[in-house]
């Protein structure tokens, strides 16, 4: 049941572009052609799912408080009882998350680009050129930070077992990416049609794209309250 909430919540109700204003630069920049939007969308889905997976793991074992933290056992073997107690109670400071996560994402994106370039030329031509742009795409850092703050639909993951929380975090990254890509592909269809229609000169390009996005956001506003309705009807 939680899976349904995550899908509906992230693809429709809290869509990253239309409701949460994340990732607008690539959304407007790459949605001129359907093929570009498709390639970028696939790359974003992949990177968001993997980034959620890695950052959740790193947070669990290096930053979050508790006995599972690597530094807890390290302090134990070194014989620092005070440090051990501190890590068990408070963990390493949560202010580290932003810096650590962006480094993980940047490193991961670079690594994936290298791997794809060396292994599959076709895939690199389709996805590779979009990958460097993804580091500065705020959907990726956004989804990992939202995962950490438990702001996603589907419950409090940090109170669950590690494997279960990791599964939900990865799935939320995946479906947030799906929501982003879906809206971007819809938008690219609209903009391909707009390119051949007559428009006042001032509205051509980005202005009309924003107004169309506004219309789409208005339509997606109709999904508000869907999760409550699902919960009431499905238990």
């Amino acid at each position: 049941m939680e899976l349904l909430y995550i899908i509906v919540g992230l693809v429709f109700v809290n869509n990253f572009v239309l409701a949460q204003f994340l990732g607008l630069c690539p959304f407007i920049g790459v949605s001129k052609k359907s093929s570009d939007a498709f390639g970028m969308g696939l790359a974003v889905i992949f990177v968001m799912a993997m980034a959620s997976f890695f950052t959740f793991t790193i947070n669990e074992f290096f930053i979050r408080a508790g006995g599972q933290n690597v530094f807890y056992s390290l302090a134990g073997t070194l014989g620092h009882a005070k440090a051990q107690k501190f890590i068990h109670e408070k963990g390493l400071s949560e202010v580290l998350t932003t810096g650590v996560f962006i480094l993980v994402i940047a490193g991961f994106v670079q690594f994936i680009e290298l791997v794809i370039r060396k292994t599959s030329r076709g895939l690199y031509d389709a996805l590779g050129i979009y990958l460097p742009l993804i580091t500065t795409n705020c959907t990726v850092l956004g989804v990992t930070l939202l995962n950490m703050k438990n702001l996603q639909p589907g419950g409090d993951w940090t109170k669950m077992a590690f494997g279960e929380g990791l599964l939900w975090a990865t799935l939320s990254g995946l479906f947030a990416g799906v929501g982003f890509s879906m809206v971007m592909m819809l938008m690219s269809g609209i903009r391909e049609r707009l390119a051949v229609s007559k428009l006042p000169k001032a509205f051509q390009g980005a202005p009309i794209a924003f107004i169309c996005t506004g219309m789409m956001a208005l339509a997606f506003l109709g999904f508000t309250g869907m999760i409550g309705g699902l919960k009431a009807n499905l238990g």
């Binding site: 790459v30 570009d36 202010v95 940047a106 742009l133 980005a206 956001a217």
Partner: protein, 235 residues
Amino acid sequence: MEFLRQIKNGVFKENPTFVIMLGICPTLATTTTVKNAFFMALAATAVLICSNAIIALVRRRFPKEIRIPCFIVVIASFVTMVDLMMNAFAPEAVVKALGIFIPLIVVNCIILGRAEAYAAKNGVLNSIGDGIGIGGGFMLSLLTISTIREIIGSGSWWETPITTAFSGDKAALVKPVSVLTLAPGAFLLLGTMFAFFKWRRAKKEAKMGVEMVAAAVPWEVGPEKKKETTQGAEA
């Protein structure tokens, strides 16, 4: 004076929101009230000035190939500082409303863009001037948008009710158009404002007898540009 010219250039000629069209995500997400917009712009400006100064100071030490990750590390450390400062000194409601958009300053294209385009090539003092200018331009456009959104959307300015101010019985003279505080209104307003500024620029340029130049939007040519650079690196 290069320093003063750089400030004026940032506020008007290269206004980050309306001319270069960068940093759209925080522009839309945080302009529901003037107060939120003010603190968002303040945080971004503080990060921009500090990161510009540090990057200009050590610009010759960064290896060319990995300069982007180096910039991100510098920016991320300042964002963490600003995040902590906001938590300590800004009003609690504002911090809650800004949410993940404070840590997301790390991936804000304005800051990385200025680091790459200006601070990496110029001296410390001029880079600080550039930071003040671009930050001031960001502040100006955020305040403009949020003023319109708050007055029309909720009938107040800086949380002071306006529409009820003149009527004794506290009943609103005009009912606020609350769609402007929601996502669709933000998109529609920004699209219209972009069109307005494009129209004004076109008129000005027609008067001066020059052909209208499209605004330089770095991310609109992103993929092609990246393709060239990656191919160049391989060759």
